[in-house]
């Protein structure tokens, strides 16, 4: 070979060597960076991560020394091998670094702990006629005391004008007073339109005001967080779905890591509750608290339910759409086909069609529309809460079945911009590892998710409204039942407090023929004093298209329903009790007809019209008092609806006497239950607690024959009517509790499950006559042969006794063959709103 050729080849080799060396350095540095960033997740499995580090180290060293050998030997084959390995590692390093960077970037966005800065915007809102800030000089400007945006607005206004500030305790009153010209302008959050556009009847009011100017500032906000060991201590997470500044979905989730019980308590966004950060804790819709910051919502719900909230998890509308689309869609169970609203900011865009059926595939917009829908159901928002949970579960199911890393990175990208939480990565990883260990012990490896006992509930309440006389506006609200708050509180506390009182019965019975119905945490209605809405009926009439003549409403179609307005449907269309009530009307027991309002002489309890009882105090003699269903206290010589405290109708004769301490002293059901004992229906005696084989139903021990399959979703169910828009359940006057029992709080582990005990003649434990037993066989004891359901099979196997339709249970078929097929869910991104 000539010297020139040799020289040229050497030069080429030298150039290549330098290039390859540079690439090698980049690969080494890239892999080191990748391993370093992955260290934050090493708690998933320290051993595996150490092994990975060792393997990568060996690979890199082998590559480096291969390259050195290539330089020395100058063999082409060695050179080619080095090139190939370098390229492979470069690709791995590049992709790994990208994935790690994406994960860490999004995790940083999602996980928020300690202090952070956020932009707060204040809008100066006024009615038409005021176009400039200078027009407000010397005028009255309202503001909500304690609100950060109000402080920003005031400080900026003070720099420009001199105004009189009028303090308000809540934003709704401020808005209605602005509309009523009680103030000239108001300092509102910049998203105030979003707060009020969902309130029926506020459209005109909103159109009458506009933002003159707005101010924004960065503020430092701090959200409290917990350092609980969530693998050994029960903890709570507040899950929020936020839209336009409102928290439209509010769900408190508690997790007990020993029992693996998860409670989910939904609170309607329109719940009228004391807002923690309002001056004097004035009341407002729960959804409005979020405008003041997430800590305000946390504090408000803590006060409402009287529980500590350890963490939060928040998402918005777009998060649902983006995440579902990133996953390639989900499947849902939808009983009714309908067209729902899209995710755009403008309301009324009913352009998203959702087909009916089981396991119906839907995209992001469809999933969101399904979760937002409420008008289709008689129970309205309450059924929507159940739908929200269903969508969340299906999203998580799909995420865990996904094996495409790119898809998961896209999901993380979608979540990064739309989800925040204050649970740290370390806590999450620790919980994940802990759950994997539990899953290894669980019997049913094909349905790992069933190792969680998921208890769904909601804070029930009744529809009402807050009336502004000045602006003639009514804001629809939900007033929670105190009893429901207490019942949900008790359920939550039981799950969180490992020092709770033990009250599980120390025995067990079961029959494969019967389905078990878990107890409900909260009743649908409670016997409580109702706060009547002050909204005049004329308002409901005129805002729903009717004409008010001063005393009655003439509706163009349908009928007028008090506290609702003109409804399309007519009570006369219904001849059956349940259908009548499901459509939002009332069943008149006196005439056995379906009515919109109860006739004179009857009183509505929201579902029935029943004969109105005269005020007991009008009866002045014992006979009249008792004959009209009241109680007579001989000591005071007065008539009462119920015996005064400390006394009881012990003998069932209508006369009050000192409360008896022993069950046997009570001869009638009412006094027995009123004294806190149980009435054994079969034996007709008063007992301390219900005997085995019976169930405590509002103080009466009965053999249960209920058969509906257990539900883990909140109790409301969609109406069975095929109508696409039945009237939501009105319930302005909740029905009185059917139980006079002083214990309206059901616990997660109440009296024994409703498993009927079949009679000896029914249950074939007695041998056939053809087989003579060697030893006489005593048939099993039937506690209540007189209440035997007969052939228990018929009443139970189909899972229903003709009562309510049970919604889809949570987490069925949730995890199969997924990349994380042993993961179980703890958090639910309930970001499904409206």
């Amino acid at each position: 070979m000539s010297n020139n050729k040799k020289s040229s080849r050497m030069n080429q080799n030298l150039t290549l060597n330098i290039v390859l060396a540079v690439i090698l350095v980049l690969v080494d540095l890239g892999m080191m960076y990748l391993m370093y960033t992955l260290t934050s997740f090493s708690n998933l499995s320290k051993l595996i991560f150490i092994i990975i580090n060792v393997v990568v180290l060996i690979l890199l060293l082998a590559l480096n020394f291969l390259f050195i050998a290539t330089i020395k030997s100058r063999k082409k084959s060695l050179f080619n091998t080095t090139i190939i390995i370098t390229v492979v590692l470069a690709i791995l390093s590049g992709y790994g670094t990208y994935a790690s960077f994406t994960i860490n970037k999004n995790v940083d966005k999602i996980v928020v702990t300690g202090e952070q800065t956020e932009m707060v915007e204040a809008a100066i809102v006024a009615k038409s006629g005021i176009v400039d800030i200078s027009d407000l000089d010397g005028k009255n400007i309202g503001y909500v005391s304690g609100a950060t945006y109000a402080d920003i607005g005031k400080s900026n206004l003070d720099a420009e004008i001199s105004a009189n500030y009028v303090e308000y305790v809540d934003i709704n009153t401020l808005f209605t007073d602005l509309v009523a010209d009680e103030v000239d302008a108001a300092i509102m959050p910049s998203n105030y339109v979003g707060l009020f556009e969902v309130v029926s009847g506020y459209e005109e009011a909103l159109a009458s005001v506009s933002t003159i100017t707005s101010y924004s500032e960065k503020v430092t906000v701090s959200v409290e967080t917990s350092d609980k060991d969530i693998t050994s201590e029960p903890f709570s997470i507040l899950v929020l779905g936020v839209d336009e500044g409102r928290s439209d979905a509010n769900m408190l989730v508690t997790v007990n890591p020993i029992s693996l019980t998860i409670t989910m308590t939904s609170i309607a966004r329109d719940s009228y509750v004391p807002i923690a950060c309002y001056s004097g804790q004035a009341s407002d819709k729960l959804g409005h608290a979020r405008v003041q910051g997430i800590q305000c919502t946390i504090d408000t719900i803590e006060n409402l339910l009287d529980v500590e909230i350890d963490y939060y998890f928040e998402s918005n509308f777009q998060g649902v759409v983006s995440i579902v689309d990133a996953l390639g869609g989900i499947v849902i169970n939808n009983p009714y086909e309908f067209t729902g609203q899209d995710s755009s900011d403008e309301r009324g865009h009913y352009t998203v069609w959702i087909p009916a059926g089981e396991n119906v595939p839907v995209n992001g917009e469809q999933a969101l529309a399904f979760a937002r829908e409420r008008h289709l159901y008689a129970s309205g928002d309450f059924q929507r809460q159940a739908n929200q949970q269903h969508v969340v579960e299906r999203i998580l199911q799909k995420a865990m079945e996904t094996r495409d890393l790119n898809k998961l990175l896209n999901v993380l990208d979608a979540a990064g911009d739309n989800v925040t939480t204050n649970i740290t990565v370390d806590q999450f990883i620790s919980l994940f590892n802990y759950i994997i260990e539990k899953a290894n012990r669980y019997y049913d490896q094909d349905n790992i998710i069933n190792m969680f006992n998921i208890v769904g509930s909601r804070v029930t309440g009744y529809n009402s409204s807050v009336w502004s006389e000045a602006s003639q506006l009514a804001m629809s609200i939900v007033r929670p039942y105190e009893g429901s708050i207490v019942d949900n509180h008790d359920s939550i506390v039981r799950n969180l407090d490992l020092n709770s009182e033990i009250d599980a019965l120390p025995y067990f019975y079961w029959n494969a023929k019967f389905e078990y119905i878990p107890p409900k945490i909260s009743n649908e209605t409670y016997s409580e004093q109702i706060i009547q809405a002050e909204t005049p009926q004329s308002y409901w009439c005129t805002t729903t298209g009717g004409t008010w003549d001063g005393s009655a409403c003439a509706c163009p179609a349908g009928e007028f329903v008090e506290n609702k307005g003109c409804v399309q449907d007519s009570a006369s269309n219904y001849t059956e009790v349940s259908a009548c009530q499901a459509a939002g009307f009332i069943w008149d027991e006196s005439t056995n007809t379906c009515v919109t309002t109860c006739p004179e002489g009857t009183t509505s309890d929201g579902k029935y019209c029943r004969a109105t009882k005269a005020d007991p105090s009008t009866y002045t003699n014992e006979a009249d008092c008792i004959n009209n269903g009241n109680k007579w206290d001989p000591t005071t010589g007065k008539c009462y609806a119920q015996c005064p405290s400390g006394t009881n109708d012990n003998d069932g004769d209508g006369k009050c006497s000192a409360t008896q301490k022993n069950p046997s002293d009570h001869k009638d059901q009412q006094s027995c239950i009123a004294a806190g004992f149980k009435w054994d229906k079969a034996k007709g005696t008063c007992v301390q607690t219900c005997p085995s084989g019976t169930t405590d139903k509002s103080g009466v021990c009965e053999v249960s024959t209920t058969t509906t399959p257990p539900t883990t979703s909140p109790s409301p169910t969609p109406t069975t009517s095929p109508s696409p828009s039945p009237s939501p359940s009105p319930s302005p006057s909740p029905s009185p509790s059917p139980s006079p029992s002083p214990s309206p709080s059901p616990s997660p582990s109440p009296s024994p499950s409703p498993s009927p005990s079949p009679s000896p003649s029914q249950d074939p434990v007695v041998p056939s006559p053809s087989t003579e037993p060697e030893v006489p066989v005593d048939p099993p004891v039937d506690p209540s042969p007189s209440t035997d359901p007969g052939n228990g099979e018929n009443t139970t196997e189909n899972g229903t006794n003709g009562t309510e339709e049970v919604p889809v249970t949570a987490f069925n078929n949730l995890l199969k063959d997924g990349i994380f097929n042993r993961i179980s869910l703890v958090y639910k991104a309930n970001n499904l709103l409206k």
């Binding site: 080799n13 080494d28 060792v54 969530i230 802990y434 025995y507 249950d763 007695v766």
Partner: protein, 248 residues
């Protein structure tokens, strides 16, 4: 005679280029060696970091599954961390299965169930309901759910307040009144099997009053396609007053 390549002497410039190339290559080699040392140092540091890293949370423990105690036969598998009593009854069950003795199978299905279900000392939590493997096939999920709402509902409280080792543990099980001819109709299909009663005792506990817990019941065990499974568990007589809890 072979032709020999004539070596051309190198020019001074060529010699200089070659010296430079050699020097550059040597520098590259040296650089790669230094890089390798840095890589080694980094990975040693990283591995130690991982090993020494403490999690901010995660002291929760789970009972380790002792795989060495996992007994099974053609039809059944014993529960996690079985007690000696459980193992004894399961071995008898395995013998009965092998001998294809239905009455013995039914007897030891019940004994195995009782010794598993009514023993809490080997349960990690409420989710680990014992004896589900002996429950009628399609109903074990429902059975488990009902157990978690009733008998097992406060197991987390018992474990926390009294210690797992102080909880109930079945010491012995006696069966009686075994009678064939029992049937259960489930999902429209009739299954034949046995009725039998069981009485059991618990080991003493210094923390809880074991006498308050259920200690007898009758069972219906049916033949479900060759596998004997429990379809009914009912307490016997009026032993239980109800409403009393068993904690001291």
């Amino acid at each position: 005679m072979t032709k020999q390549t004539k070596r051309v002497p190198l020019s001074p410039e060529e010699k200089a280029r070659r010296r430079k190339a050699k020097k550059v290559n040597n520098n590259i080699t040296f650089g790669i060696i230094i890089l390798s040392v840095v890589v080694i140092a980094f990975f040693i540091f990283n591995i130690f970091s991982i090993g020494l890293k403490k999690s901010e949370s995660g002291s929760g423990t789970t009972l380790a599954v002792d795989k060495g105690q996992k007994l099974s036969n053609d039809q059944y598998e014993i529960g996690n961390n079985p007690t000696d009593v459980q193992k004894e009854y399961f071995n008898e069950l395995s013998n009965a299965v092998e001998a294809n003795d239905p009455e013995k199978i039914a007897e030891y299905v019940v004994k195995s169930f009782v010794s598993d279900y009514y023993t809490w000392t080997n349960k990690d939590g409420n989710y680990e309901v014992g004896g589900v493997q002996y429950i009628f096939g399609t109903k074990f999920t429902a059975f488990q759910e009902e157990a978690r709402w009733t008998f097992y509902s406060d197991l987390d409280l018992y474990i926390t307040q009294y210690g797992r080792e102080n909880l109930i543990e079945v010491a012995s099980v006696e069966t009686s009144q075994l009678q064939p001819g029992a049937t259960s109709t489930i999902n429209g299909e009739e299954y034949e099997g046995y009725y039998l009663e069981a009485n059991w005792t618990y080991k003493d506990s210094s923390a809880i009053d074991v006498s308050k817990f259920q200690n007898r019941a009758y069972f219906v065990v049916v033949n479900n396609n060759g596998r004997y499974e429990i379809t009914e568990v009912q307490p016997l007589g009026n032993d239980l007053t109800g409403g009393e809890t068993a904690n001291e």
